[in-house]
């Protein structure tokens, strides 16, 4: 077994058994609560996914009003809905075949929406041109990510395809890579430096792949999940130079670009940095950038819509990418409409603008407030250390459990962080995810908690975690 597999930070088999156990547990607890079994809590606080609406955050009214009017066009003539909502719905329906959201769209997405998304990208990136022909809208960003992974993975080559992946990194993407028979090549982010990416570590990771697999791509998440780190322009440039030199395809997962809260941080896209670096990089480095309607201000996880923008790909390969996506039919039309709103929110002067601003302001304020509260609360507890984040919707504090707790976990056949999460769920009704799922440096343990929740839920969450953690530290001291 290769060194890569032996020291697999994603700890494949053990983790899967644990994850399955955790999911069985939550189903059981939910059922028990439904049946009125007495517990120290009335409801589970589910902060296991980056899903704000699940915890009670409200969707944007503008988005939902448009969806309703598109679904039931009689509402377009109903002046209960704002006039800009009704106008948009009418225009969108005119862009749908047969005037209905029930029709299939073109493979890459509704052409007018794809076009507007390209304009949105261009505006975001200071005017850098975005070619609508290179954009594919899909049922969530993970779907298009999997399609691109698939094209990169050469199943007939004598050496397995490798893809550099961050530790910690988003577990679903890593799982996707493994399902396709490719090898994740881990590069470790530096926890002590706020989960910063060091170029030496990328070099080291790439070197470690020698003789094990053929690395063809670099998967990077910015802002990070679960790390919450936001890359500087400088860092992005270095990564692009590295990819160019080492002939790697860049897969930039940027779904959290709209939730940057760090005061000194600013999201800048890989596409923009690439364009601004000029030739030779700007017209040679191959890049796929991913975004989604599930995150940011929209938080529409259940609608399943994201997109990929492909830059500098071989035109011959692009033809096959089209066929690959075409057999998937198309992304759900309601999701595409939500994406369209993301790309074109209400503007000053529009009737919906004031309320839209109020709602998005509330989301931003809540995020900042929650992050600060969580950092303060966790860092005041012995055995919990939380790096200050800059973006995304998670905190990923490190757990330093007493040896007796670690021993107890071992006896239960669980990693310490899974043990922590299992007991946190059972005793405190808080559903968080163990760091083992995302990968972590050997001997370290973490938990991932979504902090995009209504403020009162956050307070309750912090109260429960503080109480649980304090008790646990006492019990195992």
């Amino acid at each position: 077994m290769s060194m890569l597999q032996e020291n697999d930070p994603y700890m494949k088999d053990m983790k899967q058994v644990e994850t399955a156990a955790l999911f069985r547990q939550i189903i059981r607890i939910m059922e028990e609560l439904r049946q009125g079994v007495k517990k120290p809590y009335k409801e589970v606080i589910d902060v296991a996914s980056g899903d704000p609406q699940k915890t009670g955050m409200k969707p944007l009214s503008f988005v939902r009003q448009i969806l309703a009017a598109c679904l039931y066009p009689q509402l377009i003539n109903d002046n209960k809905l704002p006039v800009d909502v009704r106008q948009r719905a009418q225009r969108l329906l005119g862009e749908c075949p047969g005037g209905s959201v029930g029709s299939y769209s073109a493979t890459r997405g509704m052409p007018d929406i794809v076009h507007r998304v390209s304009e949105y990208i261009s505006r975001r990136d200071g005017g850098a041109w975005s070619n609508p022909e290179n954009i594919y809208i899909s049922p969530g960003s993970q779907w298009s990510l999997a399609n691109i992974f698939q094209i990169l993975v050469n199943t007939e080559a004598s050496t397995r395809t490798g893809i550099l992946t961050p530790v910690p990194g988003y577990n679903t993407s890593i799982l996707s890579i493994k399902e396709l028979g490719a090898v994740p090549v881990p590069y470790y982010l530096d926890e002590e430096q706020g989960w910063e990416l060091h170029m030496e570590e990328l070099h080291r990771a790439l070197a470690s792949a020698k003789g094990v697999c053929n690395p063809v791509a670099l998967y990077i998440i910015n802002p990070g999940n679960p790390s919450g780190q936001v890359q500087s322009r400088q860092s992005i440039q270095e990564v692009i130079q590295f990819a160019s030199e080492k002939r790697l395809f860049i897969l930039a997962d940027e779904v959290y670009q709209d939730t940057v809260y760090g005061e000194k941080s600013e999201f800048v896209s890989y596409k923009r940095v690439l364009a601004e670096m000029g030739p030779p990089f700007s017209d040679t480095v191959e890049l796929a950038s991913f975004h989604s309607a599930s995150k940011g201000m929209l938080g529409e996880c259940g609608l399943r819509c994201g997109y990929v923008e492909l830059v500098n790909l071989d035109p011959a390969v692009m033809k096959y990418i089209y066929t690959q996506f075409s057999k998937d039919s198309c992304a759900p039309v309601l999701g595409q409409i939500a994406l369209d709103v993301m790309a074109n929110p209400p503007q000053p002067g529009d009737p919906s603008y004031p309320f839209y601003i109020e709602e998005t302001q509330h989301i931003r304020t809540t995020l900042v407030h929650n992050v600060n509260r969580a950092l303060t609360a966790f860092n005041s507890l012995p055995g919990l250390t939380c790096q200050p984040g800059e973006g995304g919707v998670f905190v990923f504090p490190r757990l330093d459990l007493p040896p007796r707790a670690i021993q107890k976990a071992k006896e239960a056949g669980l990693g310490p962080d899974t043990f922590y999460c299992v007991n946190l769920l059972e005793d405190a009704g808080v559903f968080a995810r163990p760091g083992a799922e995302y990968g972590q440096k050997e001997g370290t343990h973490h938990i991932r908690i979504c902090i995009m929740t209504p403020p009162d839920i956050m307070e309750e969450l912090l109260r429960r975690v503080t109480s649980f953690h304090t008790q646990l530290m006492k019990d195992f001291s």
């Binding site: 049922p139 698939q150 017209d283 609608l303 066929t323 039309v333």
Partner: protein, 492 residues
């Protein structure tokens, strides 16, 4: 090397991702429905928009089974409930009937955070799976169905591909072989190419109205055993593109065959609500399997697929669907759960829609009358168009059309004169693609050549949907007739 690169003194930098090193399986994928002829149709539409003069003013896209794109109306009940689910503030509005509001509330209470914008579990919302199981039980005369065996999906296609992925194993001679009907809906061949599976063709009998012949299944599997390990048998019932509706006897025979040969059955039943011919009746594989007794029902492995895109709903854009798995090995089921988690979850509006399809208005509910009226109208129109299409094509010398017993398509056989076949060859085109391209360029009608679905060597077909509005359909049929006669004349 580009001028620019020379100027920069940068040596020629080939692409990282090229035809040579990309996944070779992906190069073998074809999907005719959205393939070259469709892309040409889109090009022509662009030319029309730019004012280029053509012998027609619009392109009729009869290539894809998209009823609402062709003007079929969605059902009011579905859209009202979904509007309320999207924007619950509308619950105050008195124009929505009480049953619409109740359904919306029930769906929302099953969603995380009471919102369709939250992720659901990967398998799909529990109470919707329960409703689907109940629907299946009713449909199948009481045959029990467990929600644990129901997996909601992003359209039926997603579930079909997931199952094929799950069933793919082995290498070389042990590689999984999958039996598929010819002609077939090209998702199957595309998925198999993508997954590196071995495609085992079994030919449907055109002379017997596209009937499935067990002898032909035997021939196909026997030949296939020489180079792969047949593990799966796919059936599309009602058929796409053939429209054939399997008899109960035939379904039993297929199940027996699957048991004998130890094959996993994939039953694509998305058109189960589209049955038109008198004397044809939809029988689900699940029901027949269970009625054959425990010897079969406790051993034969089956996955049945359904969707919200077809039947009377036609809600393709929602990407709603499900599969029911029977007798799945528990370890395989665990793998399946893992596989579906990679997609996170199916679109929640599609799940909600599916819930309404399996829970339509009941006779005592306010929306019932309108619902039944709309549903009946849609199905009656489809039946009429199926009949009209078959009838019209059969009056054209050189076109023969089997009865359209079900589904949404006609797949007539066309006689292409030898001279045209030669011309096509000259141009490097398959003859029925050449025919369809000519039709598209001259009449603005987009059909899909039979070669995209598979056909017996030496025969040619096209697939046309029966979906355009009746008056338009009549005109289209007329123009195809005229084109065919012209074409035959030209190459006589």
């Amino acid at each position: 090397m580009s001028q620019q690169q020379q100027q920069n003194g940068v040596s020629h930098r080939g692409k990282v991702l090229t035809l040579d090193n990309m996944n070779p399986n992906v190069k073998r994928v074809e999907y005719a429905v959205r393939g070259p002829i469709f892309l040409r149709a889109v090009e022509i539409e662009k030319e029309l928009r730019e004012g280029v003069k053509k012998p027609f003013t619009e392109v009729l896209k009869a290539n894809i089974g998209d009823a609402q794109a062709m003007g079929q109306k969605p059902l009011t009940f579905f859209r009202q409930v979904l509007a309320l689910c999207s924007y619950p503030e509308l619950m105050e509005d008195s124009k929505f009937p009480v049953d619409v509001k109740q359904r919306a509330q029930r769906i929302l209470s099953a969603c995380g955070g009471h919102s369709i914008g939250a992720y659901s579990s990967s398998q799909g919302i529990e109470c919707i799976r329960q409703d689907v199981a109940r629907y299946i039980e009713t449909r199948d005369g009481g045959t029990p169905s467990s929600p644990d065996n129901i997996f909601l999906s992003t359209g039926a296609s997603d579930a079909i591909v997931t199952m094929l992925k799950l069933l793919m194993s082995g290498e070389g001679h042990d590689r999984t072989g999958v039996m598929i009907p010819i002609p077939q809906y090209p998702l199957y061949s595309a998925a198999l190419a993508d997954l590196g599976g071995v495609q085992i063709n079994y030919y449907l009998n055109e002379d017997k109205c596209w009937a499935l012949d067990i002898a032909e299944l035997r021939r196909a599997i026997s030949a296939a055993r020489q180079n792969c390990s047949p593990r799966v048998l796919c059936i599309i019932n009602p058929g796409n593109p053939t429209g054939q509706v399997q008899t109960r006897q035939c379904i039993e025979d297929v199940i027996r065959f699957a048991k004998e040969e130890r094959l996993f059955l994939l039953a694509d039943e998305v058109y189960q609500g589209n049955v038109y011919s008198e004397g044809s009746e939809f029988h689900s594989f699940k029901k027949v399997l269970f009625e054959m007794g425990p010897e079969y029902s406790s051993t034969v492995e089956l996955a049945s697929f359904h969707s919200t895109s077809k039947c009377y709903m036609g809600e393709c854009g929602f990407r709603g669907g499900y599969m029911e798995v029977i007798n799945l090995d528990p370890m395989v089921k665990a793998q399946l759960l893992k596989l579906v988690s990679v997609r996170l979850c199916p679109p929640v509006p599609g799940q909600a829609l599916l819930d309404l399809v399996v829970n339509p208005p009941q006779p005592d509910e306010p929306s019932h009358a309108t619902f039944m009226k709309e549903k009946t109208e849609v199905l009656a129109a489809l039946a009429e168009k199926a009949r009209l299409t078959e009838q019209t094509f059969n009056t054209v010398p050189g076109i023969t059309c089997n009865p359209v017993q079900g589904a949404m398509y006609t797949f007539p056989r066309i006689t292409i004169p030898q001279k045209a076949i030669d011309k096509a060859k000259e141009l490097g085109q398959i003859p029925d693609m050449y025919y369809c391209m000519r039709l598209l360029n001259e009449e603005g009608i987009c059909l899909v050549p039979g070669s995209g679905f598979g056909q017996r060597e030496g025969t040619f077909h096209f697939r046309m949907t029966i979906l355009p509005p009746t008056e338009k359909l009549k005109i289209v049929l007329q123009r195809i007739r005229e084109f065919h006669l012209r074409f035959t004349q030209e190459f006589s």
